[in-house]
Symmetry: C2
Subunit: 225 residues, 2 copies
């Protein structure tokens, strides 16, 4: 933040958030649930990607639930509820990111039995800046980048791409129409986060989604060992 | 913000920002320059739209300059400099929006003669949340929404669409490929901001850009009366 007073208060908030996130993560670990935090700019396709994922993880024998953040509207929760898994909306009322306290509060109100779950998804507010600084106790932070956004986005939002574990290129069905330069986008990701796993997907055509689901299942299994 | 201490400090920052923005606007008015603040999510096409605009406003006999905000990199300023107009980059170093103080500081360092300009463009950080709260002293706030982002974005980011003066649909050349629902998108805009002007454009094909340039020129002229 530009203002030194806000910087100071924010530092305290981040420390408090980190402590709470650590407690959440310990709770998730004890329950044996793998928690995935999905971040991206608005419109990169988080909800479509998550809807496809929720519908298909059950085929892999996994139980899941999702918590969905938005500034306003519960459109996403209603869309995701069609997948048949438990879904709950957090309306942030203008807040540009989710915080660990919101996750803790909603889990308490929800009364969800974490022990019955294998995977718990958190869809963050669409924003490539603010959510980067807030640990939600997740095990995996997945950043989605749609091919329509431009190959240089990892260079312009380096903190987000650096803090995430995996990059998912979305809307690959539009790659030709927008003349997506895969090599340039990959190089941009690798320059801010060397060695980062990148998967190429389309929730519309299903391209790459099997690979993603296999990757996620393997992560969950190795995480339980 | 979720934290009450931050809320309080932030309220003070916003009041300070608003006062400074008012002073900036008075200065812009005295110089006879119309100031345009471009906001959108990352990758909605602000830089392409601005590049097209800068190249073509001179044909309308108008002098312009641009200040471009980004978290990191000066890619956009380098792209825009090809248009031949004065361009300067603000690297916010992680800040998710521009503030009036940054505009004032950069104008001072730059030594730009505002009196020689007709139009001054500010390209904000790609973010549909935080820039909504920060008046930069602009006369026009233009929000860009690419057809690839989804028709419901105005409902999910109501503060931004409510605070803006005009909505520009961008990447209209992709409308068919993404099955863009113009009626739904228009209804979403109108529901959060009744009567809002909407223009449909593509900086790639030039669709709607003449209409935008005429609209902007007419605004500038009426503003000088």
């Amino acid at each position: 933040m530009y203002n030194p007073r806000i910087l100071e208060v924010r530092r305290g908030v981040l420390e408090k958030n980190d402590l709470l996130a650590q407690r959440l993560r310990a709770r998730f670990n004890a329950a044996g649930v793998t928690v995935v935090n999905l971040v991206s700019s608005p419109g990169a396709g988080k909800t479509s990607f998550l809807e496809y994922t929720l519908r298909n993880v059950s085929e892999q024998g996994l139980c899941s639930a999702a918590l969905v953040g938005d500034l306003a509207t519960d459109n996403d929760a209603r869309r995701l509820a069609r997948s048949g898994v438990p879904v709950r909306q957090i309306v942030t009322g203008g807040n540009c990111h989710l915080e660990a306290q919101m996750i803790a509060d909603h889990l308490e109100e929800w009364g969800l039995a974490l022990e019955d779950l294998d995977l718990f998804f958190i869809e963050n507010v669409g924003n490539l800046v603010c959510p980067a600084s807030y640990d939600l106790g997740e095990h995996l932070r997945i950043v989605l980048l749609s091919v329509t956004e431009g190959e240089d986005k990892p260079l312009k939002y380096p903190v987000m791409f650096n803090s995430a574990d995996v990059t998912i290129f979305t809307k690959m069905d539009l790659a030709a129409a927008v003349e997506f330069d895969r090599a340039a986008a990959t190089a941009a990701v690798q320059s801010v986060h060397p060695g980062m796993t990148i998967l190429e997907t389309s929730a519309k055509t299903g391209q790459g989604m099997r690979e993603w689901l296999n990757w996620l299942t393997a992560f969950h299994q190795s995480h339980q060992l």
